[in-house]
């Protein structure tokens, strides 16, 4: 049974570390109602709840993958705190300041995690933009090689290059362009 497998927070953490999607799915389903309740009670919609929750889960997930998560509380509280912070930020952006937040749970200040997350988010968007600007087939080529880790021979076949050297050259050309586009927009903030 899925439910019994991930009964404790530790089990869920271990599952996510092992890249077990079921652990993530379980976690996702477990805590969504709480966040949905919070957002709906604080002048949000179902879709916004989904967005915020997914963002929260991403923060959590990336922290785990990064091994930088120092969980001092329950996962539930952590997620709630992060989502709460994100939602307040979203409200502020919309020009609506929540005078009084209707809190259903305890929460922690999650500023640091959010700051880190925003940096990641910026990078993610820039990379997305850069890849979009790059155009096909460069994009697919790079994605296949660097992200999906396909080997050069498969890529050569897929894209119809005469040999793997041509493919490699093409790949480096693409990479060169991507680099240009990306770094004009992105300055690492250190």
């Amino acid at each position: 049974m899925e439910n019994t497998l991930y009964e404790t927070d530790e089990a869920i953490l271990a599952g996510i570390r092992k890249d077990d999607d079921r652990a993530l799915a379980y976690l996702y389903k477990l805590h969504f109602p709480m966040i949905a309740h919070f957002i709906l009670n604080n002048s949000g919609t179902e879709d916004e709840a989904k967005d915020i929750y997914q963002e929260g889960v991403i923060v959590f997930y990336e922290k785990i993958k990064d091994n930088s998560l120092e969980l001092t509380c329950q996962i539930k509280t952590y997620l709630y705190s992060v989502c709460r912070r994100l939602w307040l930020k979203r409200l502020a952006e919309k020009g609506r300041y929540a005078v009084k937040v209707d809190d259903a749970e305890d929460f922690l200040p999650a500023e640091d995690d959010i700051a880190q997350h925003e940096e990641n988010e910026r990078q993610f968007e820039l990379m997305g933009d850069a890849l979009a600007q790059l155009g096909e087939p460069c994009r697919s080529l790079l994605e296949d090689y660097y992200i999906h880790m396909q080997n050069m021979q498969d890529i050569t076949d897929k894209f119809g290059y005469t040999n793997s050297d041509t493919a490699k050259n093409q790949k480096y050309k693409c990479l060169q362009r991507l680099k240009k586009i990306f770094f004009t927009a992105y300055k690492p903030q250190v």
């Binding site: 989904k50 997914q54 991403i58 890849l131 992200i147 990479l175 060169q176 991507l178 990306f182």
Partner: protein, 362 residues
Amino acid sequence: MFDYSIYEQIERYLGGGMVAEEKVAFEALLQTDTRLAEKVREHQTLLKAMRQHGQRQSLQQKLNLMHTEMVAESAAASPSMFKVFWNKHRQTMAVAASVSLLSVFGTLWSVQQLKEPVQQQTARYVELRREVERIKKEQRAIIDGIMGTEAEKPAPRTARFSGTGFAVSSDGYIVTNSHVIEGADSVMIENKAGLRFKVNAVYRDKTHDLAILKIEDPAFEGFGKLPYTFKTTESDLGEKVFTLGYPREDIVFGEGSLSSSTGFEGDTTAYQISIPLNPGNSGGPLLDDKGNLIGIISGKQAGQEGAAFAVKSAYLLKVLGDMLTTDSTKVALPRHNHLAGNGRPQQLKKLKDYVFVVKVYN
């Protein structure tokens, strides 16, 4: 070409694909060639960003998938619009409902409450005829029965109402309030000494609320000399006055002063007096310090402390005069006052035999 081979080298360096000597050589090169080092760093950042981008994208896809899956799962038991609305506003609605219920019943209740004083206000004048607690009397009869004292005797019928009355002449005329004997079949009087007579109402004046009763008992032999006289003039404000009456089974003394020369709502035929009175006091004599009878207790104002009323004695005399003209019954009023100069207890001792409880049966 140069560029691409460099890239390949960098990638192999970053990916850890270099053999030891090559790596050492490359690192040495990095130490000297800052441009190369910069390139490596850039490349590293780029690759990392790209990987993260990829991971993020797949993660988001996964999450979306999970979400749709979850929605699909809950869609089976998907709450209707009404249910969503209900869940969202349930608390508010509960509060609203209870508030409205509360206010509805609160209003009903307070209206009910308000009605009572309104009724009282329309009849603020309370006549002090006493409704006898039948149960109490019956209980006593039962107790007596158990004690065996009057086992054989049929239980006496109990009076329905009672008031007070007093003698106006030695030949058996008694005065009380007209309202006391309202609706009476038969009337009995009884005094502290235990004398008990059947009386008939010989005259009633409803405007002054007075009634003259006459003792019809053949065993009656007259009261002897009455100790008080009747005052024909008005008494002064502030004069000390007292009364005797039967607000319960025993005779009760009440004292106060004459607080106004008019009665209820400016009624000039009555005084206002400050004696605490109770139902049953109606018809009692009101006397001043010297033992002159100055009035007949008639009622009080409800909801107002110390506002009791007594019909002025002048009107009693007037009624007796009317009786003389209509029925040509002459009532011989007492002439001599034996109470003047006595202390209050002495006065009461003399007086109490002439004050009767008037029992009304119907």
